[in-house]
C-alpha cells in the first residue's frame, strides 16, 4: 500500500486541492506534479524503495507535490525544517542516513536534487525497508530520548482515519492553513487531501490576510496555534467568518481570554487538541468547548486514555498523574537509536505521553504540565537539554539551565540561566549570537540571565522549574 497512490486513486481530479495567493491547484495538478517528481527521482536520480529523501522547501502547493512525489517513488519522506541551523541540518542528514535531498522552490516548482553517498547502510536499514516506510519526523520525539519518528504507509492511513473521527473533514471543507508543513503533515495536510478537502494558504499569518482568505474561499476550518488566534484578535471588529464550523487550537494551551474573544466574534469556540508525533491526534475537545475551554476533551473514539501515578498505579478522577494513551496509527519505530514501537510502549500498547493530566468526573481531560522537560514555543517543540548542551559548548559557559516563563501575549517564552566559568566574561548578546549559528530560531532563548548557580536535585541533576 502506498498512501500517495491510494490518495490519488480515490480523489476527484477536478476538485481544488490547494489555494494560495491568487492561484488554485486541482487534485489532478497535484497528481501530475507529484508523479513527475517520483518519476524523475527514480529514473534520473536512482532513488530506490525505502531510500530516505529529505525535503527543504517553503510551504505551499509545491511543498505538498514534492512530499507526495517522494512517497510515490516508494521512498521515505524526511521533512527538513527550513529554520534548522546548518549544524542541525548536518546532524539530521547524518543520523537519519539520508540518501538524497530535494531543495525546492515554492514559487516555481523547480527543484535541485542532491544525492548523498552513504558508505554503508545503518544496521537497522533492512528492517526499516521491510516496513514500507513513508515519513520520518526528525525530532526528539515526545520523550526526548530518541531522534526520528518513523511512520509507515499503513500507519499514516490508520492515523488519519482515527483523527478524522473527530475532525469530520469532508470534500466540502476548506481549511485555512498557517502551521509549518515540516512540523505538521500526517494528521493535517495528508488527512485533508485523503478526505478530498481544500487547503487554503493565506499570504501571511496576520489577521487581515487570514480573514480575507477565509471569507473569499468560504473556509470552514481553522487549524492553528494559540499565537495565530492571538494575532487574529488584533482585528476583532473585522472578524466575520460565516462558514466557519470548526476552529482547532493545537500545540499548546490557548489563553482563555483569546479563545473567548475569538468565540464572541465568530460564534465558534476554539477546540483544544492534543497532537503527538508518536500517536497522531488522540484528543480534540469537540463537546461544548466553551464550557471547558482549557480541556482537551474526551479521547477520540478510536483511542483510550488513562492516568497513572509514578509507579504506574491507577489514579482517582480529579488527581493528577501521567497521561497514557492507546489507539491506532501509533508510530512504527524510533530511528536513532532504533527501537520498534512494541518495545517502547508500556505493556506493549500504552504510550506514555509525558504529559501530566487530570481526568474529571465526566471523563474530560485537562493537561497540567509535563513529566518530561519538553518546551513548546509558538507551536514548535524542543527539549531544554538540547539547548543547554549547545550553550555549554561556549568556552566561557560552565553550566546552563533553559526554562520557560509565561508571557501575557505569547504563552511561553524561553530563557537561559548561565553560570560562567571563573575569570570568564561574556555578554548576553555574544552568547545569543553563538546560539543562533547553532540552533533553529525557535530554540534560541529569548533571554539570558547570568546567575551564580543552577539549582540541582539531590542526585545532582538540573532542577526543572
Amino acid at each position: 500500500m502506498n498512501i500517495a497512490f491510494s490518495l490519488f486513486e480515490k480523489c476527484n481530479s477536478e476538485a481544488i486541492a490547494v489555494i494560495e495567493k491568487a492561484s488554485s491547484h486541482t487534485y489532478g495538478e497535484l497528481q501530475s506534479w507529484s508523479s513527475q517528481v517520483a518519476q524523475e527521482l527514480q529514473e534520473n536520480h536512482g532513488v530506490k524503495p525505502a531510500d530516505r529523501i529529505g525535503l527543504i522547501c517553503a510551504d505551499g502547493f509545491y511543498y505538498i507535490a514534492f512530499s507526495l512525489g517522494i512517497i510515490k517513488a516508494d521512498a521515505c519522506f524526511v521533512p527538513i525544517a527550513p529554520e534548522l541551523s546548518e549544524l542541525e541540518r548536518k546532524s539530521l542528514v547524518q543520523t537519519m542516513h539520508l540518501h538524497g535531498i530535494i531543495t525546492g522552490d515554492a514559487a516555481s516548482g523547480m527543484y535541485r536534487y542532491e544525492r548523498i553517498t552513504i558508505p554503508s547502510e545503518p544496521s537497522w536499514h533492512h528492517e526499516f525497508a521491510s516496513m514500507n516506510p513513508a515519513l520520518i519526523r526528525f525530532s526528539s520525539g515526545t520523550t526526548g530520548e530518541s531522534k526520528g519518528v518513523l511512520l509507515c504507509n499503513s500507519t499514516l492511513l490508520e492515523r488519519g482515519m482515527a483523527a478524522n473521527e473527530g475532525l469530520q473533514i469532508t470534500p466540502a471543507d476548506r481549511i485555512v492553513w498557517v502551521l509549518p508543513m515540516s512540523h505538521h503533515f500526517a494528521v493535517s495536510i495528508l488527512l485533508y487531501l485523503w478526505n478530498g478537502a481544500t487547503i487554503v494558504i493565506p499570504p501571511t499569518h496576520f489577521a487581515s490576510d487570514i480573514l480575507s482568505s477565509a471569507t473569499e474561499n468560504r473556509s470552514t476550518v481553522l487549524y492553528a496555534s494559540p499565537f495565530h488566534f492571538f494575532l487574529l484578535t488584533s482585528e476583532l471588529e473585522k472578524i466575520s467568518w460565516p462558514d466557519l464550523r470548526l476552529a482547532v487550537s493545537t500545540t499548546s494551551a490557548i489563553q482563555a481570554e483569546v479563545a473567548e474573544k475569538f468565540a464572541k466574534a465568530t460564534g465558534i469556540h476554539p477546540s483544544q487538541a492534543l497532537g503527538i508525533i508518536e500517536a497522531g491526534l488522540p484528543f480534540i475537545n469537540r463537546i461544548e468547548p466553551s464550557k471547558r475551554p482549557l480541556s482537551i476533551g474526551l479521547p477520540q473514539p478510536a483511542f483510550e486514555a488513562k492516568i497513572m501515578g509514578a509507579t504506574n498505579e491507577p489514579v482517582e478522577p480529579g488527581c493528577p498523574g501521567n497521561l497514557f494513551i492507546k489507539g491506532p496509527g501509533f508510530f512504527d519505530a524510533y530511528i536513532a537509536p532504533w527501537k520498534k514501537r512494541h518495545d517502547v510502549l508500556y505493556e506493549g500498547e500504552w504510550f506514555d505521553t509525558g504529559d501530566i493530566a487530570v481526568k474529571d468526573g465526566e471523563g474530560f481531560y485537562q493537561l497540567q504540565g509535563r513529566s518530561k522537560s519538553v518546551i513548546s514555543i509558538g507551536g514548535m517543540k524542543f527539549f531544554p537539554e538540547e539547548v543547554e548542551a549547545i550553550l555549554c559548548e561556549h568556552p566561557a559557559v560552565q553550566e546552563a539551565r533553559v526554562s520557560t516563563r509565561q508571557h501575557p501575549q505569547f504563552g511561553s517564552i524561553s530563557f537561559a540561566e548561565i553560570v560562567l566559568k571563573s575569570q570568564k566574561k561574556l555578554t548576553a548578546s555574544e552568547l545569543l549570537s553563538f546560539c543562533r549559528k547553532r540552533l533553529a530560531r525557535h530554540k534560541t532563548p529569548a533571554e539570558i540571565l547570568f546567575v551564580e548557580q543552577i539549582p540541582k536535585t539531590s542526585s545532582g541533576k538540573i532542577l526543572r522549574r
Partner: protein, 80 residues
Amino acid sequence: MNDALNESQKKARLLELISNEILEVGSDFDENSNLHDAGLDSMATMQLLIKIEQTFGVQLPTTKLTKENMASVASLAKII
C-alpha cells in the same frame, strides 16, 4: 525608554535587531523593505515582538499587530 529615542533611532535599532537576530536579509535590506516578503512568519513575528519588548521596553497592544503596521521597519517604528 522608547520616549527617549526619536523615530530614526528607533528605525536604526529595529534594522539592526531584525537583520542580526530575526531574519536572514541581504545587504540591500532597509527601512522600507517588505518584512512579509523577507520571511516574517508567525514564529519570527513572535520573536520580533519579544525583542521589541526587551529593547524598547514596550509591549505593543494587540490591536496594533496588523499586517500593515508590521510591513516594514518604517511602519513598525511608528507604533513603538
